[in-house]
Symmetry: C2
Subunit: 369 residues, 2 copies
């Protein structure tokens, strides 16, 4: 029996996710922020990082990769920097704590950077960078991730899609919110093409020999079996279109999120015990905040931002195009619409949520409203 | 009469450039660092940013776009941040001063960021980021630049190739030195294809309608005449291959280098007077330095860096490939070779230098050794 698509209110969806986390032993505050980060991704239209991931969080908590009540510690701290150990807990509460510390430090000293080790998947990078906006700070957030990306001239996935987000306040214009994987596309995009049976554009992925391929099925199978190949960095295969630049950005993220905090890096992020069972993950994050008035009065800066963003948006369009976007705009518009009209869940995702509710004996109240 | 290729010693080349700057009224210390930054680019194999640019510096000083003896001022300063005004002077001395300040602040507080306005072309971004390495700091450097790059879905060049550099120390391995334009390629690459008559790969540039083109001649003419079109951001045209990400990085650089210091941005970087003559330029830069031991003991970090970089370099190669590089490696190897064997100058560049020497009555001692 096929599930029908279902549109749900964001608050109901957040409430459901929170109950799931509570059921799995996560304390209320941590359950709340984890639910919030997932639903925020759905609101912003980044469905691949929203409640479609709930199953992985549930499994992570069940198998011990994610610790429901971790001991989070401040390992080192100066006025401008800190190292946090997340104790293997859920990414969003640890991430929020890290970004909050960076923001506090920036308010006091002008700049704050916080690196995090022993964490897990933290959802959308933009959530944390955007926390800086209400304090009129520039915010940044990045994370390393499971190995899906092949370095330039390689044939083994050894880096993650390692996203970078930077949020910058503006005046009348919406803030600039860059939130980008450093791969050409995320794995979810390959899955979409796989479902539709379409050929991949050359430059998204390589086969197990490290050669560009259009075969989505082969790429996904290879990744599942760790048979070689994977996603290509931003810029594609080789150096002709700049693939070495995307590879460099992915490596930079692994340096700041893996090497700097002493977290996992490359293929050491998800350790396993001698029996093959997953141990608590060692994902790393890096958060930063910067005071604008260390350089310029904030109102002057915002006026310049408005002018800069408008110059781009008002500049002449390419033939056949109606609009030039600034980063974050699409997501803000989507979030406004989905807050009003509800979040449309893919039938498979809705079905998955219902199964999770049944398994965990959690109330499922998303449909039939 | 065609000039022959000529190989020159880097010290002789630097000495020549320095004499040129001295002749144009630049004080000795500033002449020295400007010559050093140009020759460092040639040593590292980034010929487009080396002495091939000397003519533009000479003209910039002659027409008043670059001020030989600028008044450089610290406009704002905190323990972690500063805003420098370069007074319209040469980029390299101002850039070195900005990066030195960022380094001093990082040594004292853990982090330092310095933004610069009223500067000029500063050469290779990597020169400044790498200054952090001898202090065992992570360094970053970026600059905005003349409008050559078309935003996603646009048809007017309104951003620069806006490079980003980040340098990170390692232990036994060479440091990681990312130094990348945020466009797919720099203009120099289009010029190389133009000279050879080859078609451009689709994804490097657009024509005046904003559509991808393979026609190098058309792109260069359009850029010279400001007729529309230009270079594409990293990721190419549209969003399919991630062009909006390269556009986002270019815009981020313009925010940090233009909007934050109150420098020029978008198409306001090179102002002209009412008579059409260039006024002192208003290029902006952004420099940063970060103490590693704010997070982790430096020796532990370096050992991890070595392991991370070796995991990449030792990972299996794509079919037909012999080597995986880490960023900076190619340039370090090139610099060692060119320091030993000399820098090969393109005949046109050597000829240009000789003409400059004659015009300015500066001793030309580069050939015949």
């Amino acid at each position: 029996m096929e599930e029908k698509a279902v549109t749900v209110h964001w608050e109901a969806l957040k409430g459901f996710c929170k109950r799931v986390f509570l059921r799995l032993g996560v304390p209320p505050e941590e359950a709340d922020v984890t639910a919030e980060v997932l639903v925020e991704a759905d609101l912003r239209g980044i469905d691949s990082h929203g409640v479609a991931r709930l199953r992985r969080y549930v499994r992570g908590l069940q198998v011990g990769q994610m610790v429901p009540r971790p001991k989070v510690t401040v390992v080192r701290e100066t006025a401008t920097t800190a190292l946090l150990d997340g104790g293997g807990g859920l990414g969003p509460p640890i991430g929020r704590k890290g970004m909050q510390m960076a923001i506090e430090k920036a308010k006091e000293t002008g700049v704050g950077f916080v690196a995090v080790r022993n964490s897990n998947h933290y959802g959308i990078a933009g959530y944390y960078a955007m926390m800086a906006l209400e304090h009129e700070l520039i915010g940044t957030s990045m994370t390393n991730a499971d190995t899906l990306v092949v370095p330039t001239f390689g044939r083994k996935a050894i880096l993650g899609t390692n996203p970078i987000s930077v949020a910058v306040p503006a005046g009348r214009e919406r803030p600039f919110v860059l939130d980008m994987a450093t791969s050409a596309v995320p794995r979810g995009k390959i899955e979409v093409y796989h479902r539709s049976g379409e050929d991949l554009p050359l430059g998204w992925a390589t086969d197990e020999r490290g050669l560009p391929t259009t075969d989505a099925d082969r790429v996904l199978k290879n990744l599942a079996e760790r048979a070689g190949g994977g996603l290509l960095p931003l810029g594609g295969a080789g150096e002709l279109m700049g693939g070495h630049k995307g590879y460099g950005l992915a490596l930079l993220v692994d340096i700041l999120c893996g090497a700097l905090p002493g977290a996992g890096y490359a293929d050491t992020i998800y350790p396993k015990g001698p029996d093959g069972r997953p141990l608590p993950a060692n994902v790393g994050h890096f958060f930063g905040a910067l005071r604008i008035d260390g350089f310029r009065p904030i109102e002057e800066f915002k006026a310049t931002m408005d002018d800069l963003l408008r110059r781009l948006k008002d500049s002449p369009k390419a033939e056949g195009q109606q609009r030039i976007w600034v980063h974050g705009e699409k997501e803000f518009e989507m979030a406004e619409e989905r807050r009003r009209r509800g979040i449309p869940l893919h039938p498979k995702v809705a079905s998955e949520l219902r199964v999770i509710a049944e398994e965990l004996e959690v109330e499922y109240d998303l449909e039939g409203h």
